[in-house]
Amino acid sequence: MATTTRPMRLHPDTHDEATQIAALRRVQPSDVIAEAWREYMEKHREEFAKDLETLAELLRDDTINGVAEFVNRTNKARAAAAVKRLNGDGDGVCDDTEPEPSHA
């Protein structure tokens, strides 16, 4: 696929690390990111399936607000990470693996 021109939305440090790993392994940085995705999905296989069921139900019920709420469930953490990054505190990487129950 080469139809998207959007740059990676990664913290610059994460991007640099991916680039360095890719150079060492003689692959492209995007391959490293895709591999991380696959590993993440393998580790969270059951959660992924459950989330897909939840989304399918929301779509069946035609509740666009519910769908949007699901898609936005990690935004509080992402916003905190963005501000942390701007303030130069820590790596600014969003830990969104534990979404808030109220948003799930």
Partner: protein, 248 residues
């Protein structure tokens, strides 16, 4: 059903959408500098001269040659000017692809309300930069736009893919590239839908999940290749099988 028109060059909620980033005004700037409601949509302030200058100058160039300095925030904050004395301060966040209007005021050298000392005071107080609430609103609006686009476009994409000879390549929400292949085994009355996308095209895992769920309910499984080709660098692929139109 047609695809929605592109939002580029238009306002959406608190944003003005550009090709590679969006323009936004911080809640503090809306409230204290522009005398608007801090939750205002972009449209509500789009008629103000400084906001017109913001759109004109930052729609194609996210930065400028002159900075507001010295500041302690550690990021380049760029000057925005309109007329003799209207001044603004903007920040380009290239990770989250947004240009913020952080502050606005009049430049009156030597006067107590001169823009530049006021801007430096905001910086010193830690009130110049966008807040978590500013970012959360932006992410929420992006998620809502993405959800609306996917829900609206998924049936169109499926219909186009069914009519296509081989893999159908298209965009979702005007920018996210995907490849979609639909194979039908009439003898078994089975349909396999396979989709490939670049993982870095999504802002969150949830957005990728929504795309899959909107294309078809069922248990999507990650696979290592598209039916007619290997995956390209950075690409992942998922497939789901339906028998007689029902999830298996």
């Amino acid at each position: 059903m047609d695809r929605p028109v592109s939002l580029i060059g238009k306002t959406a909620g608190g944003a003005y959408i550009c090709e590679d980033w969006e323009l936004r005004v911080t809640a503090r700037c809306l409230d204290e500098d522009l005398n608007a409601d801090p939750d205002s949509d972009f449209d509500a302030v789009a008629g103000l001269e400084i906001v017109k200058a913001f759109v004109k100058d930052r729609e194609t160039h996210a930065t400028a040659s002159k900075e507001v300095s010295p500041l302690t925030c550690g990021h380049p904050v760029y000057r925005l000017a309109y007329g003799n004395d209207h001044r603004g301060a903007t920040l380009h966040d290239d990770v989250d692809e947004v240009v913020w209007l952080l502050a606005y005021g009049r430049h009156r050298s030597g006067e107590p309300d001169d823009f530049f000392p006021a801007c430096k005071a905001l910086d010193a107080e830690g009130r110049l930069m966008p807040t978590e609430q500013d970012y959360e609103r932006m992410f929420d609006e992006r998620g809502e736009r993405f959800a609306a686009a996917v829900v609206h476009e998924a049936p169109v994409i499926l219909s186009e893919a069914r009519a296509a000879d081989g893999e159908h390549r298209c965009t979702v929400g005007g920018e996210l590239g995907i490849g979609l292949s639909i194979e039908v085994d009439e003898e078994l009355d089975a349909t396999a839908i396979t989709v490939a996308f670049l993982v870095d095209g999504f802002e969150t895992v949830e957005q990728a999940m929504l795309l899959l769920a909107a294309l078809s309910p069922g248990r999507w499984e990650m696979i290592g290749a598209m039916p007619s080709r290997e995956l390209e660098p950075g690409e992942v692929a998922y497939t789901v099988t339906l028998i007689s139109g029902e999830v298996v």
